[in-house]
């Protein structure tokens, strides 16, 4: 590992994409970052408002037909190198929305997913573990 990736490893910025989630996972994500108990800023993470600032992208939801194009567009706006984390059971299989006519997922048909965090919604500890795994992958890519 060279100097750059050592530094980059300490500074993964997070961005959330909601691909038609029921909001359960998004609430968990907000909890992970916002409440003092599960502080992810200690890993150097920081939520950013713009996809262009992001390193690790957290996708929630089953990728509904309506939102698919927008999600792909936003995903392409995230500059390389990047790591993708799918949060919740929805992006993996469709979860409770499985086999619905409105669902285009699973999400890895369209996007390269690096880490899956199953659960409906996953526990904050699981999300943090997912982020920690993503940081390992991110350190190799950066």
């Amino acid at each position: 590992m060279d100097f750059f990736s050592k530094a980059a490893r300490k500074s993964p910025w997070l961005y959330r994409i909601n691909a038609g989630s029921c909001n359960g996972c998004d609430v968990e994500l907000a909890t992970t970052a916002c409440i003092p108990r599960y502080d992810v800023e200690r890993l150097g993470c920081q939520y950013c408002g713009s996809p262009k600032h992001a390193d690790i992208v957290l996708i929630t939801g089953p990728l509904t037909a309506r939102v698919k194009d927008k999600v792909l567009r936003v995903y392409n706006e995230i500059p390389d190198p990047k790591v993708t984390v799918a949060v919740g059971i929805c992006p993996i299989s469709g979860g409770v929305f499985r086999e619905s006519y409105a669902i285009e997922g699973p999400i890895d048909r369209y996007l390269p997913v690096d880490v899956n965090v199953p659960g409906c919604p996953p526990r904050p500890q699981a999300i943090i573990e997912g982020i920690a795994k993503a940081i390992e992958i991110w350190a190799k890519r950066a």
């Binding site: 750059f4 530094a7 500074s11 502080d39 200690r42 150097g44 713009s50 262009k52 600032h53 390193d55």
Partner: protein
């Protein structure tokens, strides 16, 4: 002649402008983030987190949106950072460093300090993004609101320093600092308090600190002017804003409380004062929410403006 030019270049590029100011700014930013985390009972990022962030940004890809004016979009961060490096070299570190007169006086400094705001506006409008445009208009509104008070505060100090040294107006920061070191700081002179308060009000708006971080509100307008930036240009923008914090805090220290021992100890006292100011700013940032842009503009047009006029009137009435 050449050694003079070389020395000036060194002050702009290495110490106390350029590298030193940027490193100090990044370190202060780290302290601020850590302090806020501790106030919220979090562990918080490591103190050198801003350095990591900067190095990482230098490694990312730069995306230029189709709608952007590429030249302005890429030139603006460089121009803003350069202006701040020059401005930082004009800030005296009492007892340790005196800027050469060739660099300019308070008026030049005043203009240099407004360049980052102009850069942000240009960045927002050149990016071609609607969020950038909103950030641009908000930045413009708030600049128009705080530019008046800060000017009044600077003029009050310059007039006062001029009156006590027998000149109509004293625009050299070095001499203002020297006078205070001999005759006591303006901080302890009640006649100067309105000007001091005006300056303190100006700090959060200029540095984009809550409740006045409206142009770059990440939860409303996705960091406004910075929304389309990525990679190295974004890093330069961040570097510009941390260097600006050094300039603004350093100017405040030079104007109102430059006293300290000579030599290396003076540098440490200066750093300690910066640290105290940053901690105060972090408490403010952690304690309050964000204002609306119209509230902020009204606030600045009312109170700091009034204080500024009061400070100026006091100085004029006194002599």
């Amino acid at each position: 002649m050449t050694t003079d030019t070389l020395r000036t270049l060194l002050t702009v590029l290495v110490f106390p402008g350029g590298l030193f100011a940027m490193a100090l700014g990044l370190a202060l930013k780290g302290v601020e983030r850590r302090a806020i985390a501790r106030l919220q009972r979090r562990v918080g990022p490591p103190l050198i987190q801003p350095f990591y962030d900067l190095i990482k940004l230098m490694r990312k890809r730069t995306l230029i949106p189709d709608t952007a004016n590429a030249f302005v979009f890429l030139a603006v961060p460089v121009a803003g950072l350069a202006s701040m490096a020059v401005a930082a070299s004009m800030i005296p570190i009492p007892g340790f460093y005196e800027p050469s007169t060739g660099l300019g006086n308070l008026i030049v400094l005043f203009y240099l300090i407004s360049i980052p705001a102009v850069s942000l506006m240009l960045a927002g409008s050149a990016s071609g993004s609607p969020y950038g445009a909103i950030g641009f208009s908000r930045e413009m509104a708030i600049v128009l609101a705080y530019e008046g008070p800060i000017l009044l505060s600077l003029v009050a100090v310059a007039l006062h320093a001029g009156a006590v040294t027998g000149q109509p107006i004293l625009l050299s920061l070095t001499e203002i600092v020297r006078y205070q070191q001999e005759h006591g700081a303006f901080l302890f002179d009640p006649w100067m308090w309105p000007a001091l308060l005006t300056y303190l009000c100006f700090i959060p708006a200029n540095l984009g600190i809550a409740p006045f971080d409206i142009p770059e509100a990440e939860s409303e307008v996705l960091e406004g002017p910075l929304v389309e930036y990525s990679g190295p240009p974004l890093g330069l923008m961040k570097l510009m804003s941390v260097t600006k914090s050094v300039v603004v805090l350093g100017l405040g220290i030079a104007l109102f409380f430059p006293n300290g021992p000579a030599g290396l100890a003076g540098l440490f006292i200066f750093l300690a004062k910066c640290l105290v100011l940053v901690l105060a700013v972090s408490v403010l940032k952690a304690a309050v929410g964000r204002m609306r842009i119209d509230q902020a503009v009204l606030f600045y047009l009312k109170w700091p403006e009034l204080l500024g006029f009061a400070g100026l009137a006091l100085v004029i009435a006194r002599f």
